[in-house]
Structures are given as structure tokens and as C-alpha cells.
């Protein structure tokens, strides 16, 4: 049993968005509707020549005090034994209560048209067979094969550090406890498992 989490090192993110492309390919997310499980926000502040630019990759925070889970009326949203927040596609009724509850804007609708387009592109290999609310799963299918999430494996600058937060030897554990990394919107009490090292 693990407690999976991620540290996002914003000092190294260059905004290449390879993570978005890798995630879409691995998880068949509806890029054709411009919906993604992960995003990279790009913010600039200041006036030339004193300009700062920050890249903020974001995704589901896999909170421990999970607002989406509380809001879900059917139990479709649940947490597995490794702390990953997942959606059971067959139970989801598409009420979007979870989307409203999520303070991190991490969820979106994988609707009927998206499912049709997915079938056109992926044929027999489709993984989303019914409409549902979708979000990051930390690539649970890859974790089962002892592989890292696709975004982590693809990132060229070691921005995404992933692993078992309870494994004291792991880089993610050390960084999460280093004092350098913080969660977003900590005051909401959601206890996210994704932490950010500011740039």
C-alpha cells in the first residue's frame, strides 16, 4: 500500500506542454474538445526589463480530505488503497457536482460526443466506453505495470517528481517534507497530495 503523491518543481518547468500531449495520448482524453487532465498555466508579472514568468502545471491534487468525494451522490468518485482518487465510469451519472466541488478545476465532462470521437480515433482500443466525469488518475493503469505516470515519464526537465509519499527513501517524500514545497489553497483544508516548489 502506498500513498502516491507528486512534487511539482516550478523552478524547472519550461512550459513545453509535453505533459499535456503525453497524458492525452496515454489516457485518450478529449483533446479534440480542448479538454485535458493536466494543464500548464503561464503567468507573467512585472514590466520590461524586470519581468518574471511562471509556469504552473496543474492536475488533480488527489486530496486526502476530498471535496469531490463528499459531493458525489453515487459513490462513483472514490479513493483506492494507494490514495488515488478515481471515478467509476459505470456509476457516474454526470451530475457534475464533483466539478463544482473541486477547488482546483481538475475535472471535466467526457461527454457522449467525446466518446464517439474516441471510438473513431482508437477503435477497439477505447478506454472510455461511456460518458462520465474525467480527471487525472496518476495513470493508475501504468502504476499497475510498475511504470511512472505518462506526464512524469515524458517531462524533459524533471519538473514532476512522483512516488510514494510514505517511502522515506523516495525523492518525492524528501521534497514534500523539505519545507520547500507547499500545497495550493492550503487554507481550504483539502490536504492535497501534490506539492509545489515555487520558482
Amino acid at each position: 500500500m502506498a500513498r502516491y503523491g507528486m512534487v511539482m518543481d516550478m523552478r524547472t518547468c519550461v512550459g513545453c506542454q509535453a505533459c499535456m500531449a503525453a497524458c492525452s495520448t496515454e489516457n485518450q482524453t478529449p483533446f479534440w474538445s480542448e479538454k485535458f487532465r493536466t494543464h500548464v498555466e503561464d503567468k507573467e508579472t512585472g514590466t520590461f526589463p524586470d519581468v518574471r514568468r511562471v509556469q504552473l502545471p496543474r492536475l488533480c491534487m488527489h486530496c486526502e480530505n476530498t471535496p469531490c468525494l463528499s459531493a458525489c451522490p453515487t459513490g462513483a468518485t472514490h479513493m483506492d488503497k494507494n490514495g488515488i482518487v478515481l471515478v467509476n465510469y459505470d456509476r457516474c451519472i454526470g451530475c457534475y457536482a464533483c466539478c463544482i466541488a473541486c477547488p482546483y478545476d481538475a475535472r471535466y465532462a467526457y461527454d457522449g460526443e467525446d466518446v464517439s470521437r474516441e471510438r473513431e480515433l482508437y477503435g477497439k482500443l477505447v478506454s472510455h466506453e461511456v460518458p462520465h466525469v474525467d480527471k487525472c488518475t496518476f495513470c493508475v493503469q501504468r502504476l499497475n505495470e510498475k511504470l511512472e505516470p505518462a506526464c512524469v515519464a515524458t517531462c524533459p526537465t524533471h519538473t514532476r517528481i512522483f512516488g510514494d509519499l510514505d517511502d522515506r527513501k523516495s525523492e518525492v517524500h524528501k521534497l514534500a517534507l523539505s519545507g520547500k514545497a507547499q500545497a495550493l489553497n492550503q487554507g481550504l483544508g483539502t490536504a492535497p497530495k501534490v506539492f509545489y516548489i515555487p520558482s
Binding site: C16, A21, F31, G46, F48
Partner: protein, 558 residues
């Protein structure tokens, strides 16, 4: 007697930090501080960067970088510039040949440094190297221009100089017509990628061009002009015909590309296409001989592999790569003392993706230039003096660009030289890449287009300083007309206002502006960089002067 170094110091005298500060906006104190820090590090490193050849004096900048690098002991040393494995190997071979009393130089592909360039001249600029007795069109143009006392280029090895003239029927060589009647574009999109667009549109539409062939995987702005399109394998379906050195890698190793999947459709590798064309022209034998000589393959092995592939009805690119494995097996014997069989070479390439023959540490230690081997210059030393530039000066007359030591070359971005006075609506122009697409080759990919969409402004728009834009009454997302103030062309663009750029400069992402509507995603989107470009080349390598002008930015229909 004055040494080159003395001369260099004396001539550098007027170009002080205060002088540079006035032009660059970098404070003189900062320049002094960095110069001292750099000079006291042993070694230090100048990162030369990419994409500098957009100004006529870029050669001088590169030479100055090399000179600075040399002065801090940073040549072929960890922490400084490291020569690549290929360069080390060729230098060692040339030195070894000389010591044996033989010719220093082997075939052009084996010569180090500028020797390689001169080796190419011996082929492409040499009428005697060709059955038809005429050199390559770019060199014909250069020679004819020089004869007529007109601006020319000395080493137009990869240039298109003379091509349009040859198509138009205006090029001659020694009084005889030099006509171009057919063109094969292999995985090239000159109408979109080369400068300027208009030149290529006219060239490819010329009634004098009987045949235009495009070898490609997708529709492009150039395939629109092709009489025949030969569909190519995509990169995942493709076998390369040869093994290649590892680029900037300091160690000596080789790699290639092998197909990841079997071809999905009725397409071909370029090798097969060209061999088939040669065969139908009755010229397959001499074509194979030429390739074998150029690439260092055994011609007999190649002929027999090709014959075997033909009778087994297999693609010919496999015959080439098999021959390359044989050659590499023998070569590994000379490099490591252990010959390899072709099968062993192939097995290593398939398993590891590359074959390393000498690792970087060994190379830097044993073949160090100049600590172990002489540098391939005339004196064997690292030279600040350039005999090549001196030869250009002797031929074309003294000018700052051909100063064989280093001299100041005034800017030519405007007719004002070094004066910095831009007009109220006048900007320096730069262009470059964005992370999500490669040139205009992948802009039609649906996934990449989707990933671009949230940042469309910054990835596709014309960057302009936000404060400057406001002062001109311009706003983010506005459609504008960009005019090349020096040469005239105009393009439309969408503004991206940001503080991430200087107020006196605009920046255009270069990967968009495809016009072919068959590109269902990219067709008609963005601004075509090369529609703003002039045809303007510099006189050494005929590089395009693609930023040697200023632009104005106005609302459309203003």
C-alpha cells in the same frame, strides 16, 4: 615584427565597454565585470547558441566567440568547448596520414574542419568532377557574379543561389546556357521554409520547369506545385540507408534510424525512390558507385546486396544499411582493434540504438586538440588569423567582413549603420520557435494544435511589448499589418502583447502560415514568416539575412 595577437589587441583598442554600452544597453560596468570573471575562469565557456546567421556579420561574431574561448584555454577541454568525436577522428587520421608521408587528406567526408568545406568545393565547384563538365548551379552563379564584378558568395555550398536564374534561363557557365528543367524536393517545403516565399512560388510555377517532383508524407505549400507527388514513409516506418556519427557527442559512435512499424500504406523510402528513378534512367550502376564512394561503402558489397534485395523483392534501403553494417564492422577493427561482423553491428544498434567505439573521456584524453594532436590549421596551432577570409579579401577586395584577424563590422539593419534612432513605429524584427511544433512540419497535428490552443496568442501571434503597444493604440489580439520597412513585403498578424520583449523589438513564431487548405487544421492559420522576407544573402556562405531590416506595425485597414 607584430604578432597576430599584438595586432588584434591594438585594433580592439577603440571598442571599449563604454562604446558597447551605448549600442547594447548593457551597462559598461557589467561588461567589465563579466569580462574579468570570464577571463579569470579556466576554462570558461561561451555558449555560441543557434540561429545566429540572420545578420551579415554573424561570421565575425562566431569567430570572436572562438577567439574568446581560445584565450581562456577553453578549447577541447571539459568546462569549455569540446570538439565532437567525428572531428577528433578525422584530425587524427589526417595527422596519421601526414606522418606516414602520405596525402594529408582522404575523401572529402573524411577531412576535418574547413578541409571538409574545401573538399566539397573540389566536387561541387569543380567542372572536371562531372561528366557534363559543369559545376553545381550555386557555384556557377557565384563564379559568374565574380567575373562580372557583382556581389557574390564564396562558399554557397548549401545555397539556392543561381537556382532561380537557372530556371529562368538566365544562368550561363563559360558562355553556355545552364538550364534547370526538373526539380526533386525530398522532404522539403521551400515555399514555406525558404526565403522568400514569392521567389519559390514563381520558380516552381515557371513554364521552364518541365517537372517538379515532391517526395513527402503530407500535403504542404510546396506539394501544391508538384507535377508528381511520391508518397514517402513517415519517420516511424522509415529505415535510414546509412549509419551516422553522433553529432555533437565527444565520443566516437554511430547510430541510425530503423523502422518502428511496417509501412501502413503504399509508400516508399527515399532511397528506394531515387534508386528506382536511377534504374529507369539506366544509371543505377553509376548512382550506386557514387553513393558508395561518398559514404565509404564497399561498392561490391553494395552491388551484391542490392541485387539480392531486388531478386527477393525487398526494399533497397535495407541493402544499403546492410552494406553500412559491413563497413562499420571493419571500421570498428581499426578503431578498437576488434573487427565486428555485420550481424554483430546490427545487433548492437538494434539493442542499444547506437554503437560506441570510443568513449568521450578516452577521446578527449588521447586525441586532444591541441594538447595531443595538432589542430587542423596551417600551423597546427589554434589560430586567430583566418587564411580563408584573407583569400576572400584578396579576391573581392578588403572590406570589414573579410578582415582576417577581427575587425568591427557596422550593423546593416537599417541604412543608418550603428545609429540607434528607430522611428515611433519602427521595430527590430526577430523570429523563432515555440515548444509545440517543429517548423511548419507538425502544425497540422490535431493533438499539437489542441495543446497550442490555450496559448494561441503567444505561440502564434506577433509578440510586441505591452506598454509600447498601448502607446501606439494597439491591443492584445488585434489584427495588424506588419511591413518590412527596408524591402517592402507586408504580412498580417495577430498581436500578442507582453512585457517579455523589448519595446523596440517584435517577435514572430515561425511555424505557421501554411496556405494549403488540404492541411485541414493548419491551412490558413497564423502568419507566414517567409512572406515578410527579402531575398538577401551574405557574401561568405550565402546565408539569408533574415533579420537585417526593421518593421512597422499598424492596425489592418488603417
Amino acid at each position: 615584427m607584430t604578432t597576430v595577437f599584438d595586432h588584434f589587441i591594438e585594433k580592439s583598442g577603440p571598442f571599449t565597454p563604454d562604446w558597447a554600452a551605448r549600442i547594447t544597453d548593457v551597462p559598461a560596468e557589467t561588461i567589465r565585470r563579466i569580462a574579468i570573471e570570464f577571463g579569470q575562469a579556466r576554462p570558461a565557456m561561451v555558449d555560441p547558441g543557434w540561429m545566429g546567421a540572420r545578420y551579415h556579420h554573424l561570421i565575425g561574431q562566431r569567430r570572436l566567440q572562438a577567439i574568446i574561448q581560445t584565450l581562456v584555454g577553453g578549447i577541447d577541454k571539459p568546462g569549455g568547448w569540446l570538439m565532437n568525436g567525428e572531428y577528433h577522428h578525422r584530425s587524427e587520421k589526417a595527422w596519421h596520414n601526414m606522418q606516414q608521408g602520405g596525402e594529408q587528406h582522404g575523401p572529402p567526408v573524411e577531412r576535418p574542419g574547413m578541409g571538409f568545406a574545401y573538399g566539397l568545393l573540389d566536387i561541387f565547384a569543380n567542372p572536371a568532377a562531372w561528366e557534363h563538365g559543369k559545376p553545381g548551379f550555386s557555384f556557377v552563379w557565384a563564379m559568374e557574379q565574380q567575373k562580372a564584378g557583382k556581389p557574390s558568395a564564396f562558399l554557397p555550398a548549401m545555397a539556392d543561389t543561381g537556382l532561380y536564374e537557372a530556371v529562368k534561363g538566365e544562368l550561363t557557365f563559360n558562355g553556355e546556357p545552364y538550364r534547370m528543367k526538373a526539380l526533386i524536393m525530398n522532404a522539403a517545403n521551400p515555399v514555406r521554409h525558404y526565403f522568400p516565399a514569392k521567389r519559390w512560388e514563381k520558380m516552381l510555377s515557371s513554364p521552364n520547369l518541365d517537372l517538379v517532383v515532391a517526395i513527402d508524407v503530407l500535403p504542404s505549400d510546396s506539394t501544391l506545385y508538384a507535377d508528381v507527388i511520391l508518397p514517402n514513409h513517415t519517420y516511424l516506418e522509415r529505415n535510414e540507408p546509412l549509419l551516422y556519427p553522433l553529432g555533437p557527442e565527444t565520443g566516437i559512435g554511430y547510430t541510425t534510424r530503423l523502422r518502428a512499424i511496417e509501412p501502413l500504406y503504399d509508400t516508399r523510402d527515399t532511397t528506394d525512390i531515387l534508386c528506382e528513378i536511377a534504374r529507369r534512367m539506366g544509371k543505377l550502376e553509376p548512382y550506386l558507385e557514387g553513393i558508395a564512394e561518398y559514404a565509404g561503402l564497399d561498392p561490391q558489397v553494395l552491388r551484391s546486396e542490392v541485387a539480392a534485395a531486388q531478386s527477393a523483392r525487398k526494399p533497397l534501403n535495407e541493402a544499403f544499411i546492410k552494406t553500412a553494417y559491413v563497413a562499420m564492422g571493419k571500421f570498428s577493427g581499426t578503431m578498437t582493434g576488434r573487427k565486428m561482423s555485420a550481424a554483430e553491428v546490427e545487433a548492437v544498434i538494434r539493442e542499444k540504438g547506437l554503437l560506441m567505439l570510443k568513449d568521450a573521456r578516452e577521446v578527449v584524453e588521447e586525441m586532444n586538440l591541441p594538447r595531443k594532436l595538432p589542430v587542423p590549421t596551417m600551423s597546427g596551432r589554434l589560430e586567430l588569423f583566418s587564411p580563408i577570409l584573407e583569400s576572400f579579401a584578396r579576391q573581392a577586395g578588403q572590406q570589414p567582413l573579410f578582415n582576417p584577424v577581427l575587425g568591427y563590422v557596422p550593423r546593416m539593419v537599417t541604412d543608418q549603420g550603428d545609429k540607434n534612432d528607430l522611428g515611433a513605429n519602427e521595430f527590430y524584427f526577430t523570429y523563432g520557435k515555440v515548444p509545440v511544433v517543429l517548423h511548419a512540419s507538425t502544425n497540422n497535428n490535431e493533438l499539437l494544435a489542441a495543446v497550442t490552443e490555450p496559448k494561441k496568442g503567444q505561440f502564434m501571434g506577433l509578440w510586441i511589448n505591452a506598454s509600447k503597444a498601448r502607446s501606439l493604440g494597439l491591443s492584445n489580439g488585434q489584427e495588424v499589418e506588419v511591413t518590412n520597412l527596408r524591402y517592402g513585403p507586408k504580412v498580417k498578424a495577430t498581436l500578442f502583447t507582453t512585457e517579455m520583449i523589448r519595446p523596440d523589438t517584435v517577435f514572430l513564431p515561425s511555424a505557421y502560415g501554411s496556405r494549403n487548405k488540404k492541411l485541414s487544421i493548419a491551412g490558413g492559420k497564423g502568419t507566414a514568416l517567409n512572406e515578410l522576407m527579402p531575398y538577401s544573402i551574405e557574401p561568405i556562405a550565402a546565408s539569408f539575412m533574415s533579420q537585417e531590416f526593421t518593421v512597422s506595425v499598424r492596425p489592418v485597414n488603417s
